[in-house]
């Protein structure tokens, strides 16, 4: 096929002029590399958002003691959130499936025989298991009766089981939480290490909320309320209702800061996305600028090249090349340069992405999808900036070109 042969002529010319080819390619390489990194970060962030939302529960909200915007544990110095608030929410906010309070104490001291460890203590009601979709792997969970009787029982996470009991069966054994004796009646399913913070979710002990508040912590307030809505679409509206209710009950009028906050999948997604947002913006600017400048450079080098190679163009015309053949050759040169630049840029970008993943905690997912986008950009730039030089070359009159 003649078109392949003329295209081949373009490739030969690129190979014969490596420096020129490199200069034509540089912008595309940098731009595509930046684009690849952006996509890797973007995809990594989204998969982390998905994972975090999945873990948090897509229909879940957390009302947490203490103001501020960040996701995280409740502020234990804030004592205004109470079981009465929980009751009020149940009564006044419609469309909620589960509203279950939880008391919370970080770094509680656990002892079993000679073993001592620190773990997070959660005082819960039976609905907690359903609300977190987190059940016991062995034994029983916390029951209504346990809560009603302030029972001295507990359910432990798998890390606590490992660290306190080793290989032995913990069920029926008695351990001490801050010197209060409780009997192990169940072991939770394993959840593993979560998120960028690297916190161990299985290093926890659950006791009836009454036991936690009265016997262990001796407080009247709770740390938070886990809320499951029956309709995820209504969540923003329900969050607003809860906010108004809490402000009224705690006598807060803006601009006084709230003494509580509501975490939802949306809020989580926002926080996760926020960390990679600035870098992504910078890289996007770099990518856009590189591709644009690279395209302009490519066009100018090609225009100079056409001017320098008029004799070559005239000769090719003299031996039978049509205008189309010349056009094909020069457009092939531009397109091949951007395609090669795209391949090198993708490789470079993937390398940088791997390095970022290795050196930082940023979520990075390397996939094939950026290749399609990069290919699209490369073709677009090669065509957009390559057409004018190719057209100029094709329009040269053979006699004028040969003179």
């Amino acid at each position: 096929m003649k078109i392949l042969r003329t295209a081949q002529e373009g490739l030969s010319s690129l190979a014969a002029n490596p420096l020129r080819t490199f200069l034509m390619m540089a912008g595309t390489v940098v731009g595509i590399a930046a684009l690849t990194v952006i996509m890797a970060i973007g995809k990594g962030t989204e998969s982390q958002v998905m994972r975090r939302v999945e873990n948090f529960g897509p229909r879940a909200m957390m009302l947490v003691a203490g103001g501020g915007r960040t996701i995280g544990p409740p502020d234990s110095t804030v004592t205004t959130l109470t079981l009465d608030d929980v009751r009020a929410i149940r009564e006044e906010v419609p469309g909620l499936e589960i509203v279950t309070p939880q008391a919370w104490l970080s770094g509680a001291g656990l002892r079993y025989e000679a073993q001592q460890i620190k773990a997070t203590l959660w005082g819960i009601e039976p609905e907690w298991h359903e609300a977190w979709n987190w059940h016991t792997a062995d034994g029983d969970g916390i029951s209504h009766e346990d809560v009603a009787t302030m029972a001295r029982v507990c359910v432990i996470g798998s890390s606590v089981k490992r660290d306190l009991f080793g290989g032995a069966d913990p069920i029926g054994q008695t351990l001490y939480v801050n010197k209060v004796a409780v009997q192990v009646q169940g072991v939770l399913e394993r959840r593993g290490v979560m998120g960028a913070s690297g916190g161990d979710f299985d290093n926890r002990i659950l006791v009836p909320i009454t036991t936690a508040m009265r016997r262990v912590m001796n407080v009247d307030h709770i740390g938070g309320v886990r809320i499951i809505t029956s309709d995820a679409d209504r969540m923003p509206e329900q969050a607003e209702q809860i906010t108004q209710l809490m402000r009224a009950r705690h006598r807060i009028t803006p601009p006084v800061e709230d003494d509580f906050r509501i975490n939802s999948p949306l809020a989580i997604a926002e926080v996760v996305r926020g960390t990679s947002g600035t870098l992504t913006m910078l890289l996007a600017a770099l990518a856009g600028l590189s591709l644009l400048v690279g395209g302009v450079v490519l066009m100018n080098i090609q225009l100079i090249s056409v001017a320098e190679r008029t004799a070559e163009i005239g000769l090719r015309r003299a031996v039978g090349a049509t205008r189309n053949d010349i056009f094909t050759q020069f457009l092939t040169e531009s397109l091949s340069v951007t395609l090669l630049g795209m391949i090198l840029g993708s490789a470079l970008g993937s390398g940088i992405s791997v390095a970022i993943r290795q050196l930082t905690s940023m979520p990075i997912v390397i996939s094939w999808e950026p290749l399609a986008l990069s290919l699209g950009f490369a073709l677009l730039i090669g065509t957009f900036f390559g057409v004018q030089p190719a057209r100029r070359a094709a329009r040269l009159h053979p006699v004028a070109a040969l003179r």
């Binding site: 090719r316 039978g320 009159h397």
Partner: protein, 245 residues
């Protein structure tokens, strides 16, 4: 084979109209070896460009093997150049950084049908001009005479109906010039039609016929009864190692 009838060429630049060729009519028979002479600026190259279908006359008819090429569009002209015409230029016009072999087969790239044995054809063509041992050399590794012979091989690769040469010896020393003439005379003996432009009377006298242009018109059209013999001239010249190729 070639018939020119009332060919005119004028260039118009704003108000200024330059008449470069006026009322040129002649015919060239197949197998003829013709030299075109004339002072500088009389329109020799312009005429060659029209004969080579690189340019169109402003008026007149040009029939090449029966077709009036004046009616053809750019693509049609490109096709005629590719199939029927071989060009040799004063400045050689070889692609730099490209081997003699690749240079010689360039016209085949633009043929409708690329012969499978293109490289062998190029080797043969280079063999015909005595460059069998230089096929992988690049232009900057070849002497001027050798470069012009690569250009002749390129012009012959398509087995064209006519070979057109515009001042083929203009950039060569006298020995290389005579060598090129020897090749042309051999091609002529083999039956090829050759038209060459020169301002050098001695070079012109290697042809059978000399057309002299003056002010864009045919001033003389003479037959050379006994053309010079390039082979004999070469024997008489002192051998030159460098240009023996």
């Amino acid at each position: 084979m070639i018939e020119l009838e009332g060919i005119e060429k004028t260039y118009t630049q704003g108000e200024v109209v330059t008449r470069v060729l006026q009322d040129i009519s002649f015919a060239i028979q197949p197998g003829q070896y013709v030299a075109i002479m004339g002072a500088s600026g009389t329109g020799k190259s312009t005429l060659m460009n029209i004969l080579g279908c690189l340019d169109k006359p402003t008026a007149g008819h040009y029939r090449l093997e029966g077709t009036d090429v004046v009616d053809l569009d750019d693509e049609g002209l490109s096709h005629v150049r590719n199939q029927k015409i071989g060009f040799v230029f004063q400045q050689f016009h070889l692609l730099q950084r490209t081997t003699a072999l690749k240079n010689a087969l360039l016209p085949l790239i633009y043929a409708d049908h690329y012969p499978e044995e293109a490289e062998e054809l190029a080797e043969q063509a280079l063999g015909m001009v005595g460059l069998s041992d230089r096929i992988d050399y690049r232009p900057n590794q070849l002497s001027g005479g050798q470069q012009q012979r690569v250009a002749i091989a390129r012009a012959l690769i398509n087995n064209p109906a006519i070979l057109l040469a515009d001042e083929p010896t203009g950039n060569l020393d006298s020995r290389s010039g005579v060598e090129v003439m020897a090749i042309f005379q051999r091609l002529h003996r083999e039956g090829r039609t050759i038209i060459t432009v020169t301002h050098d009377r001695q070079i012109a006298e290697h042809a059978q016929r000399v057309i002299v242009l003056a002010d864009g018109q045919i001033a003389e059209d003479q037959t050379i009864d006994r053309p010079r013999d390039a082979e004999a001239e070469l024997v008489a010249l002192v051998p030159n190692e460098e240009n023996n190729g």
